[in-house]
Symmetry: C2
């Protein structure tokens, strides 16, 4: 007698799985046709959803129809070739299929034993990447180091900070708690993940120094050196520096070599966050961004930003895996197993904050094999070339100016008419649906950012973006002139 089942049968799974594959292919084919930034109002989706869940199951076709009807209007299209906002979170066919396969296998990679392939493929692919990016060999798992996939660079920063906290206190903070003496350092341009990590790890915001930057928005080693000296004199214990290769605001590249020498001198942990830019080092001509990396204790970059691997996939390496493992390891009875006790394997739960983990290396493996080094390099070079071309147009237009150097694929720029004008310009552009840009502040001035990194962004999309920017700026100037004119003609004037 067959048991009652509400599960989707294998045949239904085949049918609806293929429907979802077709849906995604179709979505990506027509993605240009959507306004990039969703224009729904707060609460709009919730108002359209039933207040109570269904008592009985519904046909899958009806659910999929609701994706079109209800979900799509509330989507900001990160995969649109006209998405130039924030940093990209690009994806690709092989990555999506890797994620799908990982979901289908449904294994846990928390321990080597809970699915050896999940751990070993991850270690292997991260060793591959050390070579692909020409990272220092100390990060190899075959040396004292090793790599692990984290969800995000925020988590990588937190893990690095925790390992630094423990190493600098002889692993006593884990036992006794932090004591308000430890100090961490970044620059005023360092990602806010550092501040969040400093709070989470119990150091406290007052023990974070965000030192000054130079005219290129890169950390000033002299400012760092003074901050460290001052803290030492005050009885503090400097333990951690986060240097950035490609800041979020302007893609500034901190002088890692000089910072690294200071860290060595003071016995501090140096973490290098190359979340966005690391991918560029696939190409030999961009490897200068990693100068000094041999002095780092840890490093991360995000294939989920620019290497065609869908979120989440941050690759994080340490030079001394023992320090990280000792910081994060706990071993209850129910996780004991012969492989762990043999000491011959990595248990990645000890390399991260959570316990459970997906088989994320599958998608990374798929991407690297599908593209090969050649394919990856081609598209990265193309993105950089398009951004550089855009920067040239900005520089040549006397209405606009570059707000920062554009070393790779991010261009920071502004119209010459001031903050309010640039804010209004940004709002008009984003409301148009033609493209999506975000802003930052550089030298306290409102600045537009255009980052070229979406999988399907081609020359024409960047050309159109520039066209729209100039057109909206002209329209805004005209309407401003018009307002001034009308005001000057008004009765009270």
């Amino acid at each position: 007698m067959p048991e009652t089942s509400y599960h989707m049968s294998p045949d239904e799974f085949r049918r609806w799985g293929k429907a979802v594959i077709d849906w995604i292919a179709g979505y990506l084919e027509r993605i240009d046709s959507f306004p990039v930034l969703s224009s729904v109002e707060p609460g709009q989706l919730r108002a359209a959803l039933p207040p109570a869940p269904p008592a009985e199951g519904e046909p899958f076709g009806r659910i999929l129809a609701d994706v079109d009807k209800l979900i799509l209007p509330g989507i900001t299209h990160w995969q649109s070739p006209n998405f130039f906002a924030f940093f990209p979170a690009n994806a690709s066919g092989p990555a999506i299929l890797g994620e799908l396969l990982a979901a289908g296998l449904g294994v846990q990679g928390m321990l080597w034993a809970t699915s050896p392939a999940a751990t070993e493929l991850e270690t292997h692919v991260l060793d591959w990447l050390v070579g692909m990016l020409a990272l220092p060999e100390k990060f190899l798992s075959t040396r004292e180091g090793g790599g692990v996939i984290q969800d995000t660079a925020s988590s990588a920063t937190l893990c690095a900070l925790l390992a630094a906290r423990e190493r600098s206190t002889g692993f006593a903070s884990n036992r006794r708690g932090t004591d308000g003496r430890l100090v961490a350092y970044g620059s005023s341009e360092t990602h806010s993940a550092l501040l969040k990590a400093v709070k989470i790890a119990g150091l406290g915001e007052e023990n974070l120094r965000l030192v000054g930057v130079d005219e290129r928005f890169a950390m000033r080693p002299d400012a760092l050196a003074s901050a460290i000296e001052q803290d030492r004199r005050a009885g503090k214990m400097p333990c951690f520096v986060c240097a950035t290769v490609g800041t979020t605001s302007s893609q500034a590249i901190d002088p890692v070599a000089e910072i690294g020498r200071l860290c060595q001198q003071h016995g501090m942990w140096l973490h290098v966050d190359a979340a966005m830019c690391g991918t560029a080092a696939l190409c030999p001509e961009f490897r200068w961004i990693h100068q000094g990396l041999e002095l780092a204790d840890s490093y991360c970059f995000n294939p989920h930003k620019w290497m065609f691997t869908n979120f989440d996939c941050d690759c994080f390496w340490v030079a001394d895996r023992k320090a990280l493992i000792r910081t994060l390891s706990v071993l209850p009875e129910y996780l004991r197993n012969p492989a762990t006790e043999s000491g011959k394997v990595f248990d990645y739960r000890d390399w991260q904050i959570p316990l459970g983990r997906r088989f994320r290396s599958l998608k990374l493996w798929f991407v690297i094999r599908h593209y090969g080094l050649e394919g990856l390099r081609h598209h990265i070079r193309e993105h950089v070339r398009l951004a550089q071309e855009f920067a040239t147009w900005v520089a040549q237009d006397d209405q606009f100016e570059l707000a920062a150097p554009a070393p790779l694929n991010l261009v920071c720029f502004r119209h010459c008419a001031g903050d309010a004008f640039n804010q209004a310009l940004l709002d008009r552009l984003n409301a148009s649906g033609n493209l999506y840009l975000t802003q930052t502040r550089l030298d306290r001035r409102f600045t537009l950012r255009l980052c070229v990194g979406q999988t399907h962004t081609q020359a024409r999309h960047v050309e159109q973006a520039w066209h729209h920017i100039r057109k909206e700026a002209a329209a805004l100037q005209a309407s401003a002139a018009d307002r001034i004119l009308r005001r000057s003609e008004g009765p009270g004037d």
Copy 2:
């Protein structure tokens, strides 16, 4: 002129996407045929992988063939109906397709504005679940509370602990760092995630009290009360209790109501971790597990364990969202946007450790709609019924004994022949490939655990498991008797 592209074309994506869908359907159809626990040796997969990544891209068919050839032997089949180890991490067709769709859309849900549907669907589905599980209404987003999807219960515990740390210090720890006075409490059976969180958050292991348990392995409120009193007298600041509804070892259920009253009395934050068991509350007859939950400040359960939603998906609620948000919020310029500033929306980055986040509510929505309450309840009841039946068989067999009450779908048991025998029995069973069990220690004795929670586990799988357990135990006894016999016949005896 078309640009050079190494990307997978939409048509290739359709072709290979359907191949992966067929692969998964075929895998799940024949999953019984694999040994549940992988028997590869450490290093085996790595030795089979090329030492260097490919210079040029490879055909997708070759990659997929390598999944069969290289990856499958290293897989421990968590989705096998014969997987009874740890806690399950079950999945289902609609969940896998939800994950696929989320990967295809590739949006970031860090802010409401970065894809409003991702935030609103999540809030909505978590409000649905408050009703589905009959949780206290204070957890609704329409009150002062609200729910959010975390990756794991470990992260939920950490977030709860951080909010507790801040609330109890008037949000000063975030500013000044922790000071070694704060104390957190669990029981000796609480998940090791609490210890990890206490270390990460800077409280230190010495400020964690794991109080004693009763004969059912549930936290003793009197022991908790004494521990709190003692800490107060010593000038410590008790701030957090983690109570468990369904411990990992034995599914013990802490007396939340009594613990909650102590927390109220001392102004402490009560977090309730129902990672495994929460799902049972879909069925009215199991809702007794949540008695006292109205006194909790936060609560979590994992649809990725027992609610047919593939990992990762931990649902976490707080009664006072302001405390959580104030704890975890940082707002740099590049994340500012009108929606955030209006105060009308949730930005889920402020409810979690990382910044970025996937559109995980899609899969949860798909699961709830596909099964309906009726379908979910049916399968949960069936799992509990099968576990209870297994417990009856154990209780009726004079070679075996139950090691703990089996309130829901986990049975802790042991053979009467002692620790070494049980360890040998476990090793034989797991080496056979017929099933996968893990162990724990209860009353210091080696104990086997059998948890019924895999999507496709049916009566016959549990019957076979019991058959194998008895058969291997008999074989082990016979070989032990044989060894004793041979030793007594030996020349030296």
